[in-house]
């Protein structure tokens, strides 16, 4: 019973933290406009594919190829003969992204792409000015929704186990041991799913009904601005 209570409280804490994240990103999206948020969404998806998907291997392969090509060209001082000679030893050369470095490089590429996604619509020089004008959109709810979606993706991918909804499972163990105990961790998605259930129960609805009410509120907002 006590464990159940603690679990419920923890779910609420997790949900509120998550909702605060979403609200912050949503507000950012509202202010930035939906076009900038769409660009960010694309950047986040590409970044994630590079970090965890098949694009990562292609990315590493390309970076290493360009690095080695550049290195050969520089070492041979752009002498074609020497370049051909060095190219024979390409397999012995150290690659820029070694298998040990692959993981952190891909992670920072993801982070870099996310930051680029957020920054690209605000650049104030050269091509950036053109892009800024192209991406300018008035503050709107759509921007807010895309912003919240971006925030959600960032949170679930960057902090997949940030929120714990099973505090009792690791009780009595040192904090470090609890942190690695898989049973004591719930993913952010679990927190959201559990939280939605709790939130819906609060209004006497089931989660699907709550979802429909949210959709309904968006429809009302569209109707409001179409008056």
């Amino acid at each position: 019973m006590l464990l159940q209570e603690a679990q419920k409280t923890s779910t609420w804490q997790g949900l509120i933290t998550l909702l605060l994240f979403l609200a912050a990103f949503g507000y950012l999206g509202w202010k930035r406009g939906y076009r900038r948020e769409l660009v960010t969404l694309v950047a986040i998806f590409i970044g994630h594919r590079i970090w965890t998907g098949s694009l990562g291997d292609t990315f590493v392969k390309w970076v290493n190829q360009f690095y080695l090509m550049g290195r050969i060209a520089l070492e041979a001082r752009f002498d074609l003969g020497k370049m051909m000679e060095l190219a024979q030893k390409i397999n012995d050369m150290e690659k820029l992204i070694t298998p040990e470095r692959k993981e952190p490089v891909l992670f920072f590429t993801f982070l870099g792409l996310v930051l680029l996604g957020y920054g690209i619509g605000h650049a104030k020089c050269c091509l950036g000015t053109m892009l800024r004008k192209l991406l300018d959109a008035p503050p709107s709810l759509i921007g807010g929704l895309f912003g919240a979606l971006n925030g959600y993706l960032i949170v679930i991918w960057l902090f997949p186990t940030l929120f714990s909804i099973l505090p009792g499972a690791g009780a009595g163990q040192p904090v470090a041991a609890r942190a690695v105990e898989p049973a004591a961790q719930a993913t952010t998605r679990d927190v959201l799913a559990e939280g939605i259930k709790e939130l819906a129960a609060l209004f006497g609805l089931d989660p699907a009904q709550l979802l429909v009410v949210i959709v309904g509120l968006i429809v009302l907002w569209i109707a409001w601005r179409s008056r």
Binding site: Q209, V219, L220
Partner: protein
């Protein structure tokens, strides 16, 4: 025939295309009509069904000298609930339409809003049609080999999200949304 959810998705897609052509300010009028019909069907559904079964069908079958047939009865019930939706949809598109006076958003924002409202209308309409077919056990469709009721997991999951199913216990939510939309459409 392919999976039923593909057929359902295609109908929803038609609604999206219609909304893209007509604009969401007009399609919001259809949303109001669909919400109202659904409210009536969900709120009075049980009473309507009882009256039809006990009073209307028995008389009609007797009058036409047709034997009481459960499958035929289920078919008629499904058709009656579905035709109310189809009729209202037809009236919504035909003649003077109920629409919102504002100018629709342009560009990508307008496109996204059109898609959103199209999906909502498609879900309200196609979802309800599917729900009533399912509720009455797809009468004659399986018998005539037009439909195989071996559902995929997606179809089973989707069935839980069909509008009448969702609002079985809370039909007043449908009326409340329709009322607010009507209020917004007449208040400038």
């Amino acid at each position: 025939m392919g999976p039923i959810e593909v057929l359902w998705g295609t109908v929803v897609l038609f609604f999206v295309m219609i909304t893209l052509v007509r604009g969401y300010t007009r399609e919001l009028g259809i949303t109001i009509l669909l919400l109202l019909v659904l409210f009536v069907e969900v709120y009075f559904g049980q009473q309507i069904e009882t009256i039809l079964k006990t009073k209307v069908f028995t008389q009609v079958f007797k009058l036409l000298n047709v034997q009481q047939n459960d499958e035929l009865q289920r078919l008629l019930l499904a058709l009656i609930f579905q035709s109310a939706l189809i009729l209202v949809l037809y009236l919504g598109y035909e003649g003077r339409t109920l629409s919102f006076p504002g100018a629709p958003a342009k560009g990508l924002e307008g496109f996204l809003l059109n898609v959103f409202i199209g999906v909502v209308n498609g879900w309200l309409f196609a979802g309800s049609i599917w729900y009533y077919m399912d509720k009455y056990g797809y009468p004659y469709l399986t018998k005539w080999g037009l439909l195989k009721t071996e559902w995929t997991k997606t179809a089973e999951a989707l069935m839980k999200f069909m509008p009448p199913k969702l609002f079985e216990g809370r039909p007043e939510v449908l009326a409340a949304f329709a009322a607010i939309l009507i209020f917004l459409s007449i208040r400038r």
